[in-house]
């Protein structure tokens, strides 16, 4: 239980079309992440799955059941919002139990389920408090707890960690990964954060302007992006794009090479250039250079390197790590 099928979902607000035909299949127990630039329709798609927005056309099926006319509470889903959205006048315990109470579950059973969820999230000491008396991280855990208590077939997360600071984000991320393993539930998760997407997902869905650009496992997207957009969106720093002409490659309009697939040397190499800026991150060194032949390049080197601005260096791409794209931005498949 917990599979999801979307068939040509379209959604328009007034005359403005936000979702332009989304087809997607999510299998039971999968962790699927939606990524995409701001305003591309991720939240709208999630709300459509939840039933909080009606799709203009298309069908949503949960567990092979058409849910187009089913109320959000009856779809067997739970949603965690970016802004927590806890009920301010209820205690943590009542916040977590409200959904079950509305569904007419007996008191004792609610208490038991709330206690279990609180145990999973280390929320026991706070059960009697109100949301105003909790820290941001605790509030987000309550919001996640409220979702768990409902024992949904499908969890929907809309950027649940973006209001937390970096350290807390890592902790909560681990917690969500652990929850996914122990609950074995299907989860759909929206994020802006590359690291979250790459580490949590079984499957990443890259959205752009209301369309799906590519669906695949994190490594598939990283190693075999289907088009320029995905190539540029996945991976940080961004992939270098070089005009095919400059490399004497007439069959490709654009050639892409990831920063981590460029080696630097002072002595000699393919592309001579001048260092513009260097970022030392400890584990990595990121070097920005302006090369004579292929223009601006970013290189990501493992470990510490003593390059400085205005140094003259030679960049060499790793053989076979280049991605070639045609005039429409689609990848040109090399015979494998």
């Amino acid at each position: 239980m917990g599979s999801l099928q979307l068939k040509s979902i379209r959604k328009a607000f007034g005359g403005h079309e936000v979702l332009k035909g989304i087809d997607l299949e999510v299998k039971d127990g999968e962790f699927v992440i939606f990524v995409g630039p701001s305003g591309c329709g991720k939240s709208t798609l999630l709300r459509t799955i939840a039933g909080l927005e009606d799709a203009t056309s298309g069908s949503v099926r949960i567990d092979d059941l058409e849910v187009g006319h089913v109320a959000p509470a009856k779809r067997g889903i739970a949603m965690v919002f970016q802004s927590y959205a806890l009920y301010p006048h209820l205690t943590v315990k009542d916040n977590m139990g409200l959904g079950l109470k509305q569904a007419g579950v007996p008191r004792a059973e609610i208490d038991e389920k709330v206690a279990k969820a609180a145990g999973m999230l280390s929320l026991e000491p706070y059960l009697a408090r109100r949301p105003a008396e909790l820290s941001g991280g605790q509030r987000q855990r309550v919001a996640i707890g409220r979702a768990i208590v409902r024992e949904p077939k499908l969890f929907l997360f809309d950027e649940p960690l973006s209001n937390l600071d970096a350290a807390l984000r890592v902790n909560t991320r681990l917690e969500i990964a652990r929850l996914h393993r122990s609950l074995k539930a299907t989860m759909i998760y929206v994020t802006h954060d590359q690291v979250e997407a790459m580490t949590l997902a079984d499957k990443i869905v890259v959205l752009n302007a209301g369309r799906i650009e590519q669906v695949g496992s994190p490594m598939e997207l990283y190693n075999r992006p289907a088009n320029l957009f995905v190539a540029g969106f996945i991976g940080s720093p961004q992939m270098n794009f070089i005009e095919g002409e400059r490399l004497g490659d007439t069959s490709a309009k654009t050639v892409g090479i990831r920063p981590e697939h460029i080696g630097l040397s002072r002595d000699g190499g393919d592309w001579k250039g001048k260092v513009i800026h260097v970022e030392h991150l400890g584990a990595d060194t990121i070097v920005y250079l302006e090369s004579e032949r292929v223009g601006p390049l970013t290189a990501r080197l493992f470990g510490e390197h003593r390059y400085a601005a205005d140094d003259i260096v030679h960049a060499t791409p790793v053989i076979g790590a280049m991605h070639r794209f045609d005039a429409d931005g689609r990848v040109i498949k090399t015979g494998e």
């Binding site: 939840a50 009856k74 919002f81 301010p88 509305q102 409902r150 209001n163």
Partner: protein
């Protein structure tokens, strides 16, 4: 900006302005109450003086309580005001919720239409209202007044409350929907508590004109059993002789219910529980 250096002069100026305004605002109230405890001669001889043992007199209050059914007028005013406020708040909030929450054809137009009453005084329709009340047999009932005052208060209530309701987080309402709350439960249990300060503001704005109104009681309900206190006090104001003691005493008494209601509402204004709802 250094707070310590500028603060003394600035707080001084601010306090001076506020105190001056308070004095100006309270002066008529003080004058009314002080004079209501003086004898008739003292009122005219030294209107600004506080009552002294020589000039002290309760004659005004005695007249008021003896003449006419003053307690009854009082009751009428309170009933009309409280019921009207309750109806204005209930229907105003419901209309505001619909306007701010649901997307439907003609939403903006409907909002404008409902706000129209802010600009057009309801008194312009007095003749039609009176004809309507006569036709429905509501003349000389408190219901007539309540209906008119509810209509009079709604436009501003809808206008203010819909602005406030737009600020209530969508996520919170959506969380309620996923938890299975009906739209009514979302309205009453999630949204209303969060806009309580706005409701109190609307209540105060609605209350004062209703309590003070003379026009509609005079036209729609001038009969003895339905007189409101403002209308009831008019019997002491004659064309030739005015019983100032009684008028001032009646006015002093009329201040208290409004004061009590105001205190109740202003507490709601301060007590916000939104903190921690979102973010």
């Amino acid at each position: 900006m250094s707070k310590a250096r500028t603060s003394l002069a600035r707080t001084g100026a601010v306090h001076f302005a506020l105190i001056a305004y308070t004095l100006v605002a309270l002066f008529p109230v003080f004058l009314t109450i002080a004079n209501s405890f003086k004898s008739r001669n003292a009122i005219f001889r030294e209107p600004l003086a506080v009552p002294t043992p020589e000039t002290f007199s309760l004659i005004g209050y005695e007249t008021v309580l003896k003449q006419g059914d003053f307690i009854g007028y009082f009751q009428n005013s309170v009933i009309v005001t409280v019921v009207s406020i309750a109806l204005v708040l209930l229907f105003g909030a419901m209309a505001a919720f619909a306007l701010s929450e649901y997307r439907f054809r003609g939403n903006t137009l409907m909002g404008l239409y409902l706000a129209l009453g802010i600009m057009i005084p309801i008194r312009l329709g007095t003749v039609a209202i009176l004809q309507g009340m006569v036709a429905t047999n509501l003349v000389n009932t408190l219901t007539a007044l309540i209906l008119v005052y509810t209509a009079q208060g709604l436009p501003l209530a809808v206008f203010i409350l819909s602005e406030f309701m737009r600020t209530v987080s969508d996520d919170l309402k959506n969380a309620g929907r996923i938890d299975g709350l009906s739209e009514y439960a979302i309205f009453f249990r999630l949204v209303l508590p969060l806009v309580r300060p706005a409701m109190a503001t609307v209540a105060v704005f609605t209350m004062i004109p209703i309590w003070n109104d003379l026009w509609f009681p005079l036209i729609l309900a001038p009969a003895e059993p339905t007189k409101t206190i403002t209308l009831g006090s008019q019997i002491f104001i004659g064309q030739f002789v005015t019983n100032w003691n009684a008028v001032l005493s009646a006015l002093s008494l009329a201040i208290f219910p409004v004061l009590i209601l105001y205190v109740i509402f202003s507490r709601q204004l301060i007590r916000g529980i939104t903190a921690g709802a979102v973010k």
